[in-house]
Symmetry: C2
Subunit: 473 residues, 2 copies
């Protein structure tokens, strides 16, 4: 299909400007054509900046007529190249940056209706102002936008309690590849009228339709919270602690993050200004947060849980944040690790998930598999333990550069991905497929699923104009 | 498409028996051809009873070659005719009754892997034996099967806390219309490898593929629970109570059901053996249940909540179950109301949902809209208030029969459905579309959604052999 596409040209832009006025078509400045890890250099004839869903429809219709590819562009924070098209006919970028309205917040329905260009931090703040929580939270929340977060079914640190972006979305307004509108900004929690297009479009990375607005679920702000920095001997003990916490605290567990000593070493090396919580030295740490309503005594119960865990030998040391500042300090450690990783420069980074029952085995077998390629490689394994989602990143020996290992990068990735797959896991837990992992789709996706996905893509985007080259190999 | 289908005949059954042995093809006994409300009389050339997913694949391939329609048959409890095909070329029924294995229960992954023919009560019991909760619960749980529950995205009484069937399913194994296999029995909580086929097949009522097995989420059994029978003056007060309960108890609210006085009158008339909890007389009641982990003091907090609500005038009386027997007695009232409805015989029954912010308006406007057709009609409005899902059923005046009102049934349905739709609601909250509500799809579904659904149906079932006539008008 992409073979039938044509380069975007001036004629198209004239028609768009004639229909929508002069402010929509803009030059594709370099910042639109890069992605955070610098793996792709995108190309685009222009950036289109519609101000409304109706304008998106017009743009999509005109691009479909001209057989021009559309790359949906949101916050630009995606890590798998979904937002940059490096080859093929010259596309347009369709940016949501002018669609910034929060259309409604309703405290009875507990819903926030946001346009695609709303930045996550803005949505969080708007909810907070009305004494509600929009629980999606991740490192790039200061620039990631709602459209991209839904398009990629983003995860983050609160999935263990509230689910991923898909679980936080009740309804969507989307423009399909022929310019038709799917208008389903429902705020219903139960609606069995036909197929679930919402969940199909969420996570499709702009290849099946363009999400223009969404009705998002709000939750009560937990009146009581507690945050712990907890030293454990091993991932197995961390999982034991998780099991005990589930039994004692149920859904009050809001975050359960694993941090390896390597992550702290990297911080000490590259960002020494970040204060590491002072506990006993330990190969592993858990950053856990709980929250619940007034009267739940969740903080006291969390403290009791940690005492019990210390008594049973599951944990070796634990700090409970005594102030908001200390809580923030704990979280700063977690949130700065990706930047430390970037400054050191990985040979290969991975976003895998495995069933919790196989997580210990993954970590135990991962080290030897990686070190069989180079025994000096450093591994920084950290992430969302409560979801079985690890960022398992492999780094050069100290003093060496990532570029020294270009030749083995593919082997490293293959070793880690093969292991995750063999253990019933995924090689893209939360980042999506984009253009970086289409080869993994061929290698690991169930053939029946892949065939059905292709059939759906062909049915909903027969011209192949929506984000060609992304998701499907 | 259905026009190209052919009657199932002996040649097909010979080929199936030759491939799978003599035990698979059976006579379509009358019990397979009826549905609970008696609205449709189905037809089928035979019931096919595969014992495995591989046998389902063979059957689907042979039916596709023969252009014979397949009606997936699960527990037979569906209320919208999805399981019975009354017209068109003679189909086969594909029953899951011999696929009864619970393949695995894993307490670290908190997952239960069940084949499609497992009865819901069996899955619940298997989880309980391992000290886990499978939270899906509804009146027909003694006969409804996992395949149909997922196929229709069933709801029930615990959706307010745990979500509907879709939210309780991590992965599926399904056979597509060409006999291909979608093998995705994942137990991952995060997996962003491509489009969400799982949520697409769940709720598609067997029109896009046949769900043969599923990995289902288990939860801790709440160590502490409390159940209240609560008198309120109006639905508005019930919603106020819900808001207060959310604030105080958060996700501990497991069920929040509304019951109108008419439901109790119907029970007294038709099932006088059912004991009604003794409270002050009241036009409305709430049946609420909460649950949480050991140490949560959730029962005490629930009692405090009800005291506060009494003090603030939100509720007029409340009983808290003092024993398991009393809890069961409260629930028996709720669960026997549908049977009382059936014994009285409705003019028209509805399964609507509206946003919580419009629920009071729906009830306030519903009565006049119905009584404009006949001022003597009795209305029994009850259901899952916490989800905004009401069963809003209209009955003849006392002493009259439903058949006296055949002429106005359509007007009654139209009045109720138009109102729900006008308030941003759904005319099928949890029962699905089946064959009963395809007209409502034409009338109420967003045209863009409908067009996309048709495109998906055409792509995944180009011959139109899977449950023709269901879901899509």
């Amino acid at each position: 299909m992409p073979g039938e596409l044509r380069d975007a040209d001036g004629g198209l832009f004239e028609r768009i400007s004639a229909a929508l006025g002069p402010g929509v078509v803009a030059a594709a400045e370099p910042r639109y054509l890069e992605e955070p890890r610098g793996r792709y250099q995108g190309r685009a004839a222009a950036v289109l900046r519609p101000g409304s869903t109706a304008e998106v429809r017009t743009i999509v219709r005109l691009c479909a007529e001209a057989r021009v590819a559309i790359v949906p562009y949101s916050g630009g924070t995606g890590l798998v190249g979904g937002q940059v098209m490096a080859e093929g006919p010259l596309p347009v970028l369709l940016s949501s940056e002018r669609m910034r309205a929060i259309r409604d917040i309703d405290l009875t329905d507990d819903v926030l209706v946001a346009e695609a260009g709303v930045i996550l931090a803005e949505a969080q703040a708007a909810a907070r102002e009305r004494d509600r929580l929009f629980p999606l939270s991740l490192a790039s929340e200061g620039s990631a936008r709602i459209g991209g977060l839904l398009g990629t079914n983003a995860g983050g640190v609160n999935v263990v309690r509230y689910g991923n972006a898909r679980a936080l979305c009740l309804g969507i307004e989307a423009v399909m590849a022929d310019g038709s509108l799917v208008s389903d900004l429902t705020r219903l929690h139960k609606n069995n009228m036909g197929y679930d297009l919402r969940d199909l479009l969420i996570g499709s990375e702009g290849t099946l339709g363009i999400i223009c607005a969404a009705s998002l679920r709000l939750y009560p702000v937990p009146a009581e919270t507690a945050t712990g920095w907890i030293a454990v001997d091993s991932p197995a003990r961390a999982l034991d602690l998780l099991g005990l916490a589930r039994d004692r605290l149920g859904t009050a567990i809001q975050a359960f993050e694993l941090i390896g000593a390597a992550g702290l070493d990297f911080l000490a090396e590259k960002q020494p200004e970040v204060a590491i919580p002072r506990t006993e030295a330990s190969p592993w740490f858990v950053l856990a947060e709980v929250g619940d309503g007034a009267g739940s005594e969740v903080a006291a119960r969390f403290e009791a849980l940690l005492s019990e865990a210390l008594g049973r030998g599951l944990v070796t040391d634990a700090l409970i944040a005594q102030s908001a500042a200390q809580r923030d300090a704990f979280w700063t450690v977690r949130e700065r690790i990706p930047e430390a990783n970037r400054l050191i420069g990985s040979v290969s980074s991975h976003d895998i998930s495995v069933p919790l029952s196989r997580l210990v085995e993954f970590i135990e077998r991962g080290g030897p598999a990686v070190h069989a390629i180079d025994p000096e490689f450093r591994i920084n394994c950290f992430g969302h333990l409560g979801d079985g989602n690890l960022h398992y990143n492999v780094f050069p020996p100290k003093g060496r550069a990532r570029s020294d290992f270009d030749a083995v990068r593919g082997r490293v990735k293959g070793a880690v991905h093969d292991l995750a797959h063999a253990l019933g896991g995924s090689v893209s837990a939360e980042h999506g497929i984009g253009r970086l992992k289409t080869g993994d789709m061929t290698r690991y996706a169930d053939p029946g699923r892949l065939a059905a996905m292709r059939a759906i893509k062909g049915a909903l985007d027969p011209l192949g104009i929506l984000n060609p080259g992304a998701v499907l190999p």
